[in-house]
C-alpha cells in the first residue's frame, strides 16, 4: 500500500502503476479479490479425498457431486445478488419449496392432490418461475417501498412460505408433477445431468454480468456506498428491486431442479438450504456487509460444501458427524477468507 505525497504536478494516475506495488503483492491482491482464495484448499481436499476414498475421483462421483451442488449453487448465486447490495434474503429457502409446489398443484388433477385447475403441462415451468419472481419482487417492495429491514421481512416471508407449502399441498408431497417441471432436473445429456449444465451456465452468465456488465458494477457500488452510488446517478431503488427479483428467480430455478431430481414436489423441499447458502457465500468471500464477492468465489464455496459432504459420506462417517463437521469447516473457511482479504487489502491510513 502506498500513499504519494508531494509528487509534482502533471503526472496522471497511470504513470505510478509501475513502481507502486510489487508484482507479488498485486498478484496476491488479485487472487483474493477475484475469489480464488478457497481453490487451493479445494484442491488439497480433492487430493486428500483421492487417498481416503478411491471412488472419490471417479467420473460418476464427480458428476454426482456437481448434481448435488447445483441446487445449492443456484440458491447461493441468487443470494449473492442480494448480499452484494448489503441486504439479505432468508425467504429464498421458502421459494425453493413453494414455487415448484405451487406449479405442481396447478398441474396435477385433484385426485393427485392438485387444485383441480389442471393447467396444460407446458405451463409448469412458467408458473414456478413466475411465482418465484413475484415473491422476489414482493421482497423488493417490502424493503424499498415499505422500508422494512430485510432480515425481518424475509424472515416473515420464509415462515409464511413454509406454511404456505403445507396449505396448498394439504401437507402431502406431489409425485410426478409433469414433464415440463421435472425435465430440467432429471434429463441428461451425454450422461451428464441437465442440472449441472443449468448451474454452470447460470454461474457463467451471472459471473460475466457481475464482472463486466454495468448492472454488476452498480451492484458493487451500492454495496460499497449506497449514497455515493445514488450521487453517481444510479437508480438505487430499482437496483434493490431487481436484486431481490433475480434472487427469487434463481431460488425458484433451484427448486425446479430439486423437484425434477426427486420427480416430486416434497413438502420439506429446500429445508435448511438457506444456511448452507449463506455458508457457501461467506466461504466464497462474499461480504455480508455488501460490495465484495465474486461468482468464482461463490462456486468455490458451493463446491467446498459439496465435496466435504461427499467425502464424509464416502468415508462412512456417521451422519451425525457430517453435520457437525460441516459447521466446523464453515467457521474455519470463513476465518481463512477473512484473514486472506485483510492481508491483501492493507490497512487504511489516516491523514
Amino acid at each position: 500500500m502506498t500513499m504519494e505525497i508531494g509528487v509534482p504536478e502533471g503526472h496522471g494516475g497511470k504513470k505510478m502503476a509501475a513502481d507502486g506495488q510489487s508484482a507479488l503483492a498485486r498478484f496476491g491482491h488479485g487472487f483474493v479479490a477475484g475469489g480464488w482464495t478457497m481453490y487451493p484448499v479445494l484442491l488439497l481436499l480433492i487430493i486428500v479425498g483421492a487417498f481416503i476414498a478411491p471412488r472419490f475421483l471417479s467420473f460418476i462421483n464427480i458428476i454426482n457431486i456437481l448434481e448435488q451442488v447445483s441446487v445449492l449453487g443456484l440458491t447461493t448465486i441468487g443470494l449473492t445478488f442480494v448480499l452484494l447490495i448489503g441486504r439479505l434474503d432468508l425467504s429464498l429457502e421458502g421459494v425453493v419449496g413453494f414455487a415448484p409446489m405451487l406449479a405442481a398443484v396447478m398441474l396435477v388433477p385433484a385426485a393427485a392432490g392438485g387444485f383441480g385447475v389442471e393447467l396444460p403441462q407446458w405451463m409448469g415451468l412458467i408458473v414456478a418461475l413466475g411465482c418465484a419472481g413475484l415473491i422476489g419482487l414482493f421482497n423488493g417492495f417490502l424493503v424499498v417501498k415499505v422500508g422494512l429491514n430485510p432480515f425481518i421481512s424475509t424472515l416473515g416471508l420464509l415462515v409464511l412460505l413454509r406454511g404456505g407449502i403445507l396449505i396448498i399441498s394439504n401437507g402431502r408431497s406431489i409425485y410426478s408433477p409433469g414433464e415440463s417441471l421435472t425435465w430440467l432436473g432429471s434429463a441428461q445429456i451425454a450422461g451428464i445431468p441437465m442440472a449441472v449444465f443449468v448451474f454452470l451456465i447460470v454461474a457463467t452468465v451471472v459471473g460475466l454480468v457481475l464482472k463486466y456488465h454495468r448492472y454488476g458494477r452498480a451492484l458493487y457500488a451500492i454495496g460499497g456506498n449506497e449514497d455515493a452510488a445514488r450521487a453517481a446517478g444510479i437508480n438505487v431503488d430499482r437496483m434493490i428491486w431487481s436484486a431481490f427479483f433475480f434472487a427469487g428467480l434463481l431460488a425458484g430455478l433451484a427448486g425446479i431442479l430439486l423437484t425434477g431430481r426427486l420427480d416430486s414436489a416434497v413438502t420439506t423441499q429446500g429445508q435448511g438450504i438457506i444456511f448452507s447458502a449463506f455458508a457457501a457465500a461467506v466461504i466464497g468471500g462474499v461480504s455480508l456487509g455488501g460490495g465484495r464477492g465474486t461468482i468464482v468465489g461463490v462456486v468455490s464455496g458451493v463446491l467446498l460444501i459439496g465435496v466435504i459432504n461427499n467425502l464424509l459420506t464416502l468415508a462412512q462417517v456417521p451422519s451425525f458427524y457430517v453435520q457437525a463437521s460441516t459447521g466446523a469447516v464453515i467457521i474455519i473457511a470463513a476465518i481463512l477468507t477473512t484473514v486472506a482479504s485483510r492481508r491483501s487489502g492493507g490497512v487504511k491510513t489516516r491523514t
Binding site: M1, T2, M3, E4, I5, G6, V7, E9, G10, H11, G12, G13, K14, M16, A17, G20, Q21, R26, H29, L208, Y212, H213, R214, Y215, R217, A218, Y220, A221, G224, N225, D227, A228, A229, R230, A231, A232, G233, I234, G291, R292, G345, G346, V347, K348, T349, R350, T351
Partner: protein, 493 residues
Amino acid sequence: MEQIRPIVEMRGISKTFGSTRALRDVDFTLEEGEIHALLGRNGAGKSTLVSAMSGYTPADTGTIRIASTEFNVDGSSYAARIRGDIAHVQQTPQMFDLLSVAENLFLENDLVRNRWGMVSYTRMIEKTEKLMRDWNMDIAPSDLAGELGAGQRQLLEIMKALSRGVPVIILDEPTAALSNAEKRVLFDQVKLLKTAGVSFVYISHHLDEIFEIADTVTILRDGQVVKSRASVEGLDTETLANLMMGEKTTRSAREDHTFGDAAPLLSARQVQLKPDRPKIDIDVRPGEIIALAGPVGSGKEDLAMVLAGQQAPASGQVSGPNGALPTIGLVPTDRHASGYVGILGVRENVALGGLEVLSGNFGFISKAKEDSLVNRLTRQTDVIASSLDQAVSQLSGGNQQKVVFARALCRDPQIIVALSPTRGVDVGAKEQLYALLRDLASKGLGVIVVSDEEDEISQLANRVVIVFEDRIVDEMVGDYRMEDLILHMEGAT
C-alpha cells in the same frame, strides 16, 4: 517550588502505516495555556501526530509525557492512562445519534454521577442547559443528537471535550462544518479556557483562523517537523503556505469566462425549497461560476441539490433551454459519506458516473472505452494513485476528492454542481481543483459551487448568491471586492 515545564512533551515519535512513514522522529511540546497550531498539507502527519498524543492511534516509538504521566511508546495502547489529562476532538463528530444531547455530552463523565455511580438526570439536564446558554446555542437537552445539523454536532463534540475539565485539548479541524457565527462562539470559548490555563493543539486548513486564535505554530511536512514552535506574530500567510508546500505558491485569482448574452443552460423558476418559503428564480449561464453562500442550514445545499436535479423542490420548476434537464455532474458535500465507494478502485469509482456511456452491447462495459475515459479524466483531474485499481479509501483526501470530480465529469456534463468542493483538502490539491473548475468554465460549462470559505469563493466565483432562510437575499456579480464578500456573508448571519 517546581519549575514550569511544558504540559505535553513528545520526543522522537515515529509511526508507520504499511510502507508509509507517517511520522519520522517528531518532537513536539505544548506549553501550559497556549494555543498551538499544527499546520501541514493533507498527509503531512498532523492527524497522526495528535492521534499519537491522545493514544487514539498509538505511535510506534518515542517517549511521551502528558501532565505528570510519562511513558515510552512501543505501539501498544496507552489511551486509558492519559484519559484524565487529554481530550481529542476528531475531524468528524462521533456522536451517538440515538442518544439525547445531554446523554452525549455527559457520557462517561463523573460530574453527573452520585457516589454509587448512578447517573443523575436532573444534574445532567441542568449542566447541559447551562452549557447551551454559555455557548449561545438553541438546543434542548432532550433533542436527539442524530437530528442536529452538521455544525451543531461539531460544536457538541467540542463542548463535550471542553467540559471534561482536562488540561490538554486537541481540536482537529474543528471549524470545517461551522458557520461564521458558530465559529465566533467556539473561539470565544477557547480563549476563555485558555485564560484558565487550558492548553490547545489546533489543526486547521484555514490560515486566517490560525492568525486569529493561535499563539504558536508548528509545521509538518511529509511526517517531519519543518518549523517548530514559531510565534504567530512573526509570520504571514505566504510564509506559512510556502513552509507547508515546500515550494513557492501564489494564490490563484478568479477568471471570468461568462458569455454575457448566451442563453442559460439551466433555469429555476418559482422554486420553493420548502412549502411556505419565498419563490426563487435563478439562471445558470455557460462559462459562469456561481457560488452559493450563506450560513449552515440556510438552504444553500438544498438549492444546489434542487438545481442538480437530485432533490425535488416543494414547488416550481428546474429545466434546461428546451425543457429537459441538461447533463449535470454532481460532487456531493461529504465525500466520505456519499462521494466515493471506498472499497472499490479508482477505475470503478470514476466509471460509476458514466456506466451507460461506457456500456455497449447488451449493457456490457467496453474495456477500451473505460480505459480511455478513466485515463483521460484522472489525468484531467490529476489523480495520483499507485494504480487505477488502488482502493479509493487508501488515497489522501485531496486525491479522493479528485476521483469524485473525475466521476462527475464522466457523462460530459454541461453543468457541474460541487458542494464544499475542497473541504478537508490540502492547499496544493485545492489549487488544482480551482484550476480544474476554471478550466471547465472556460470550456463553456456552467459551474455551481456551494462554499463556506470566503477565500474559495473569491478565487472562483463570478457570481455570488447569498442564501438565507431558504431564499436568495443578495447577489454580487463580476468584480466584487473581498471585503464586500465577507460583509455580505456576515450580514446574512
